[in-house]
Symmetry: C2
Subunit: 251 residues, 2 copies
DNA sequence: CGCTTACTTGAGTCTGGTCAAACGGGGTGG
DNA sequence: CCACCCCGTTTGACCAGACTCAAGTAAGCG
């Protein structure tokens, strides 16, 4: 596993935050931008496979994803792994550790990533001086909770095929929202092992389920990852509806 | 199903909030108490089986549990149910709906419950005037996220027996913390159907797994629910450790 | 060219699901 | 007071979805 991490002082200014151009994200006021700019400590640039945060450690930072894909997971002592969610641009990670001390999960990059780094000790200041931003942080935490509820429903109660369809549809929907699926050839950069560890299935059975879904013409698999061919049919198969309100806070 | 709901103007004053006597909860300042007292809208008293909040609805309130047990769940269109977590005294419910509009899950009572009712529209005021309380709200949301991660790990990666052991140990731990297990004869007031819907198993297989765990002498089952005989062994079997820091915020 | 990583596929096994039936306690109406 | 019913639990028989083991392929890389 090649792991490379670069700490850049400041490549992106908050005033020209790459997230702001996306219209699902709410705009920040001048004043909020100024504060965020002080809150920001730098940037973290990492390769695919690198660990952003590790279970059991105390990290003095929290991050907002600016570019790239990653996933959040937990391990059992014997090595069994459960991926609990995926992270994408606009997602805040490390909040748990920030509030409660030690990290209870790890985060790993699925592609090269750039993250915006904040000092966790400044959180209280944020809550004091910028109630709206504090509200946004809570909003973001609440959204994560919502996604976890969905994932739990899926792993607990859907069949293998439905689970897979849900996972792909869900990740595709989120990725599209933040502009990760712009190009025609875009794929979700995961391996079948990732899928298995997300769905709670074995690798072999995951492979067979993926074949089935591919034969139905809803997805295709390449070395790079998963290509989504028919998001609507996937949603239907999963008995799931993407909610298309949108405009959410970030940072 | 007998459903009874009573809205009492004010039986418990915030100044003598029954949660404050528990030492795991942090104490509020005079000023915070005064604010909470204004924030509070009344109390909701309901029977076992009654629905506190329903998926798909917009509810103008959020609640903190004062007494009793409940559970949070989601449904698939065909009726399959997944219980995502249990709620106990000190838990805040309805925050998601409060921030994001419609409820994405339902909450049902497992015993008679008393809930402290707040107006969701006042949330912004809370964030403006009481940053510490706002921070606490976020802390609480973050804790819920943490529990969901654990539950997901369990449903996704543990065997049926480990899952059951984890569930019982986890619920027992939480219940003990908030004083629900005071008496020798205390049971967790759930049916095997609840267990099945939490673990993602069928009722029949859940029953057989419960028998196995009971034969090992770790639990016993009665009409009233589940009695915990050996919490340590349960934790061990589940490869799980309760974290014993404690002192958390509430409301 | 050999090695590694990721995907595939088949065979055999077992965990967990479905179907069906029965039991026991508590509540209810005759 | 008794018969009946309902709910939750229990058990057995049988089936299927998912797991393990094993082997083989294909692409990428040093």
């Amino acid at each position: 596993m090649t792991v490379q991490a670069t700490y850049a002082e400041r490549t992106y200014l908050c005033e020209t935050c790459p997230l702001m151009v996306r219209k699902i994200f709410r705009n920040l006021s001048e004043e909020e931008l100024a504060f965020m700019s002080r809150f920001k400590r730098g940037e973290l640039t990492i390769d695919r496979g690198a660990t952003v945060l590790a279970e059991g450690t105390k990290n003095p930072h929290l991050y907002t994803v600016l570019f790239g894909w990653g996933f959040r997971y937990k391990l059992l002592p014997d090595g069994r792994r459960q991926i609990v969610n995926y992270v994408m641009p606009g997602d805040l990670i490390g909040l748990q550790g920030s509030l409660m001390g030690e990290m209870q999960h790890s985060v790993e990059a699925l592609s090269p990533m750039v993250l915006c780094m904040f000092e966790r000790s400044k959180m209280l200041t944020l809550f004091h001086d910028h109630p709206e931003l504090a509200y946004d942080v809570t909003w973001i935490a609440s959204r994560e909770e919502c996604m976890l509820d969905e994932n739990l429903l899926s792993v607990g109660r859907r069949t293998a095929l439905e689970r897979l369809a849900y996972l792909i549809a869900f990740v595709f929907e989120r990725a599209t929202d933040v502009g990760l699926m712009k190009e025609k050839a875009s794929v979700i950069p995961i391996t079948q092992q990732h899928v298995a560890d997300t769905l709670g299935l074995s690798l072999v059975h995951t492979n067979k389920t993926i074949r089935k879904l591919a034969n139905l013409g809803l997805i295709s698999w390449s070395e790079k990852g998963c290509k989504v061919l028919d998001p609507e049919k996937l949603q239907e198969l999963a008995h799931w509806e993407a909610d298309s309100d949108k405009v959410r806070p970030f940072i």
